[in-house]
Amino acid sequence: MFLPAGSQDEIGNRLINRSKAYEIFRKITTDRNYKQISTPVVEYATTFTNKYAGMNLQNMLKWFNREGEIEVLRADWTTAIARAVVNQDSSQLKWSYQGSVFRSDKDGIESRQAGIEIVHTPSFLGESECLLTAVTYLTELNTDNYLIELGHTGIFEELTSPLQLTEDQLEKLRGAMHDKRRDVVYQIAASNGQEEIAEALTNLVDAYGSFDIINKYEKMWSDNDRLLNIIKHIKQLANLLKDSGVDEVLVDLGRVKNLPYYCGLMFRGFLKSSGLTCFSGGRYDKLYEQFDERISAVGLAFDVDVLAENLVVEDNLKKVCILATEASHVYAETVRKTYTNSIVDIQYEPTNLEQFDKVVKIVTENNQYKVVEA
């Protein structure tokens, strides 16, 4: 039998690593006072496609229910959690979740995530807690070869606001910034004759790097309060990460939001060895406007598949095989319990014995069971 593209059976270490990644995540978030929450796998499409969430229905796994409404498999955690959290006690500020999301535009239809959401919390506290939870989690997973990138939606918004572009032009310009497509960025931005702004936006395409970029732009934006506040905010968080032992903090001042609900800080983590994104998140107060709530909300999601792939398998448990019979099986089970911290199998007919470090046999002596080396 053949599997659909993107579906796969999984065995062994891959599953062990994933459970381990989930387990460590649960422990760390519980210790940091997060409360666990889960949402159903099946939701109405509009939870994800409404104008606040802005996701593309095309990429979702969907069907019509009996009433003719479109239902989908959970396409994103953040939007589903927002829907669920507004109905919860507002004194609970920190939430954590773990489970799968389903989208046809990713490699593999199902991907596993673990994440956190922090609401009703002062901006710097919420963002710091998010980033430091990420650092603690990655450290606990022995994932030390990573870098964290910070960006901010306000930079693009501030620079483009005097351009008076149409909605369509603005989307094209955002797309060109997302692709770091210098020529098109300049072309669209300069179309209304504002060449100075077009130049500034084009330079922003290359504004990624470390503290050198932060310091350069802090000087450059010293006469624009809004941009200066943004860069100072980024610098404060970059320093927090540096002081917390993160080797490499990166900024990309030209990064733009790829979902409409991001508003403010955006961040993500890259594994240096593979270049894969191991977590991403940011501020999305706007997502809650659909529920007529004006609250502060920040969060991030880890890609558990990427993290599990990167985990080193610790396979150093001793493997023992007990050879028994139907009659001696109960006795063999009591013997099994004497081997602590070991992997113990019971067999009647010896099979693949070379995989075991030790093989023992239950024999009968004077009507008594006894264990001997096989």
């Binding site: 692709d179 210098r182 990166l250 270049g275």
Partner: protein, 206 residues
């Protein structure tokens, strides 16, 4: 590890090598590569692939940078940084038909290698068409009666002319472009900065 650059084989290959040579890079190992598809120079590792495969290698981070025609990027929309145009590989995308062809009074049939570009072009015009996907020699389609017209790239226009076709409408101007993997550009920024800068300016950057 040396940065890896994926190059499009064929039409763009020679033009890139001339350009690369003009930037004072040593191109001898690339020119004399024989049938090898992977060549290492002092500074880089190069791989040679078909245009669309260049985008796949870059998207998945096997290659850090890629040199590819904009037609391929417009058609396949890979998830990569599409940095800037390069000063070679210029061509246009055009709708062409047989000379003197009268459009039939039914849904038109268009043959193309670029089905996504064709769909988008007619969608913008508000016209529904049937699209036939061909892999090459697209000019044959109207001559043999498979299609009423074609959408294809045009460099000099000679192939169209020799096959009795004329351009009805030109709608894109393309050139070769430098693309980058989304993570590599950040993670390997120090290793890539010089070569990106010299590609962009078309001059030697020390």
């Amino acid at each position: 590890m040396k940065p890896c650059i994926a190059l499009t084989k064929g039409r763009l290959e020679k033009q890139f090598l001339d350009f690369f040579k003009s930037l004072s890079y040593d191109v001898d190992p690339l020119v004399n590569k024989g049938r090898k598809l992977r060549v290492e120079t002092d500074d880089f590792q190069f791989v040679f692939a078909k245009g669309v495969d260049v985008t796949t290698y870059v998207e998945h981070g096997i290659a850090d940078l890629g040199i590819v025609g904009e037609d391929i990027l417009a058609e396949f929309q890979p998830d990569v940084y599409n940095l800037f145009p390069l000063p070679f590989g210029q061509c246009r995308m055009a709708l062409a038909t047989e000379e003197g062809k009268v459009w039939p009074e039914r849904k038109r049939r268009i043959a193309s290698k670029y089905t996504n570009i064709t769909k988008e072009f007619f969608k913008q015009k508000g016209e529904s068409v049937e699209i036939f996907k061909l892999e090459g020699s697209v000019e044959l389609a109207p001559i043999l009666g498979l299609a009423d017209g074609i959408v294809d790239i045009v460099e000099t226009g000679n192939t169209l002319k020799e096959n009795g076709l004329v351009i009805k409408e030109e709608f894109f101007e393309f050139s070769a472009r430098c693309i980058a993997n989304r993570s590599s550009l950040k993670i390997k920024r120090d290793e890539l900065a010089t070569v990106i800068e010299s590609f962009r300016r078309g001059v030697v950057v020390k």
